[in-house]
Symmetry: C2
Subunit: 473 residues, 2 copies
């Protein structure tokens, strides 16, 4: 049971707790390549599930997968001014191929807007070529100084959608559609409540007209940006000279979007749902929904285990049987660290009453179930666990949203309570910066469904916006 | 119909034919990043199908997916001597992160043996930790001077399995098992006959004890190595200091394998099955099995199209409907270029007899089928097409395998007939080199099921081996 005892309490030291969980649950391991992590089988299986579900959504909404080069020549990165300023400081540069120095150095893609634009310039000629709805699953590189598993890494596994449209209206619709796809996925599959909104000018993506973000709140009250969807207008398209002939045979510039989510989402799963015993995975994303632990070397136990495995296989419920030469206590503890949604204990004594025991990972509640009812009981449990995790996360998140109507109030909350602060803002970047400098809190996103009823919390001038502020991963 | 007319005849200029097909079928496009290609939606969909089918096989045989770093520090690449000599001349070097020069340069992985060994050293301590059966899907980089879509590229999409075993016997078994998984996939899914065998010392993978290869023959009689499986012995493990305690508590060094296939397989699909009209895809790997072309703006045509689409969807048969504002002739030609296994023409005149027309891409045969029998007819056609493509490829391949029993015979065949030459060899690298220098033919793989009945075709000394020789992509 050393696994449990070795996990730092999350209320005592959240950062150590996180590191303990990612490591002990077997999600990642450290490599001897500085800043790069190894995604272990269990962690990668979660990512594969995320990919599978999202990829299907992307295809259902008309998107196609492609694969673009992983290198960007320096001159190509330089085409869009804001973009290069945003990314150049954090890219990895390839300068040699074999023993030869390259004529032009190449960066490993930190994101692929310029590669897609360069390609779109070539293939978009007519309104008939639009929209172009491309996505790619790949690895990007950003040269971070300090790294943390899943949250900040030099290598990031992600997907990036890049689309081109004939009209502004259609591109904006696409930006919001994909934002909604992400929101729906996080809410209904990851059981993570997210606040969805527009970023301020200061916080938007380098080169975008508007960036929308999904803001999740971790157990410790710190925000995690769990995906973004950007509307680019036609700025990149103009910089790249992308033009098409419209129905009236007039040259037009198309409108662009991009949107992406990364393995960060695994970080948010851990920090939203996990507890002092380890990971807790929502059934809809768990690679293994049921861990089966037969107890004792008994014929009847073996027989029922086999029967139930067969049943689960038929029902396409993912499971694993832990038949290792270890004590049940060790296996229970490991099952908790790994966050399998349901643990199934099959023991001789229970079987005398024709029962087995199911243990919910979210509440640790033990439920005795007649052998013949196991399938139904599991299906009900999966729904309950999924809902309970969401409700619990929502409740905690909502309990950490505060409202500040003055500088004093803001200061009081910011210095004493972790979480989001709702506040009014005049729109001046100086005020946004003041909050960042004093409290290390950034604006998360605009609130567009609430009335602006007081003045800017920083300068006291007339407020134009309502915003969520928060610390971030 | 310009698509067809623009394809060079394969018998006239095979290289131009290949380039025309990959481009016009929409498989790849050129990027402005030298040496890197763009994999377009249709090409990427083929790769996704390959991944899906192989990944399932890997998992069924007990393998787990992981993700290792994409960078290898120079010192790590240098650990195994033969390996670094094999790869250092063709890697891309990252020397700067942002504006800072790195203390140690990193190469972008050309293959990941050293990364896996570095990790295995950390996690393998006991016989209980073995075997380790890991695989990863990723992109690798090899700094090729000249590139061709799918065949030779600076960026290669592939999978690489890396496994560690307690015994030599088990590792050899794994090497051969995965070779067989590949062979089965290529034969039964890609409809490509392959010769499977061991490479000579000269041609084996840098650092391996034994390399096994799958040799496919293209339409033009040139070989394409369509995958490899390597047995490493414990050379890497020793170089990396990987040791485990066996059941008797003694320190042992584990035995290793690696195996991989790449997007090259798409190149082989094109060059084995394609014809002067374009690509021909075997049904089992085609992203779209049926292209439906409704002819004329007719109510009945629309109705039957909708009914049949619904039917195909139910049966999980992939299809697309081409409803663009183009002539049927244009659509037929494009369907041929893209190599959809079956074209379904739905026209008013056929429907008067309650029929539709199916056209096989492999033979271009037209078949009238009663509307209610379409599903059955398709299922039969898919099997026929799959088998016919394999048989046709096998027949052509076998017609280009020659046997040479003397230097004169070898010379005569090598200078007049494309294909494989079977010949006896003394085992001396000088003889292997002479064939390479005179005819640009490399040894493909050893033949282990035929008697050695003459002397070495080069030097006339006693032959130890029988080999396939051939030119290669």
């Amino acid at each position: 049971m050393s696994e449990i005892k070795d996990i730092t309490s999350r209320d005592k030291d959240f950062a150590s707790w996180y590191t303990d969980v990612v490591k002990k649950a077997g999600l990642v391991d450290y490599s001897s390549v500085k800043g790069s992590m190894i995604i272990c089988p269990y962690g990668y299986a979660i990512w594969e599930n995320m990919q599978k579900i999202l990829d299907q959504k992307f295809k259902e909404t008309g998107h196609e997968n492609v694969q673009m080069p992983m290198f960007i020549p320096e001159s190509l990165l330089n085409v869009e001014k804001e973009h290069v300023e945003g990314f150049a400081p954090e890219v990895a540069w390839v300068t040699h191929g074999g023993s030869e120095k390259l004529d032009e150095r190449l960066c490993v893609r930190p994101t692929s807007e310029v590669l897609f634009c360069d390609y779109y310039k070539k293939i978009i000629k007519s309104y008939r070529d639009l929209p172009k709805l491309y996505n790619q699953w790949c690895t990007i590189v950003r040269w971070e100084k300090t790294t943390r598993p899943f949250l900040r890494s030099r290598e990031i596994l992600w997907q990036e959608g890049h689309t081109m449209h004939a009209t502004e209206e259609e591109a904006i619709k696409e930006t919001l559609q994909m934002l909604h796809v992400y929101e729906d996925f996080q809410r209904n599959v990851l059981a993570i409540p997210v606040i969805v909104g527009k970023k301020t000018e200061k916080e938007k993506f380098a080169g975008a007209v508007a960036s929308y973000s999904l803001e999740a709140m971790m157990y410790d009250g710190v925000a995690l940006q769990n995906g973004t969807s950007h509307y680019f207008g036609n700025g990149f398209a103009k910089a790249f000279g992308i033009e098409f002939l419209d129905k009236d045979n007039k040259l037009q510039t198309p409108y662009q979007t991009s949107w992406g989510v990364t393995t960060r989402m695994i970080g948010s799963l851990i920090m939203v749902h996990g507890d002092d015993r380890g990971l807790i995975l929502p059934p809809k994303i768990a690679p293994t929904k049921v861990i089966i632990i037969p107890i004792g070397n008994d014929e009847k136990v073996k027989e029922v285990t086999d029967t139930l495995c067969k049943k689960l296989k038929e029902l396409d419920i993912s499971y694993k049987v832990d038949e290792r030469d270890k004590t049940p206590g060790f296996k229970f503890a490991e099952a908790e660290v790994k966050g399998y949604p349901v643990r199934m204990e099959i023991g001789k004594r229970d079987l005398e009453n024709n029962e087995i025991t199911l243990v919910r990972r979210d509440t640790l509640e033990k439920i005795k179930v007649p052998v013949q009812d196991v399938a139904d009981a599991l299906e009900t449990l999966f729904v309950d666990i999924q809902n309970n995790l969401y409700d619990r996360a929502l409740k905690r998140r909502d309990s950490m949203i505060y409202e500040a109507n003055s500088w004093d109030e803001f200061k009081e909350i910011a210095t004493s309570k972790p979480g989001f602060i709702k506040a009014n803002w005049c729109g001046d970047e100086a005020c946004e910066n003041k909050i960042k400098d004093e409290f290390s809190m950034k604006s998360r996103c605009l609130i567009d469904d609430e009335e602006i009823h007081t003045d800017c919390v920083v300068c006291g001038k007339k407020a134009k916006y309502r915003l969520y502020f928060g610390r971030q991963y």
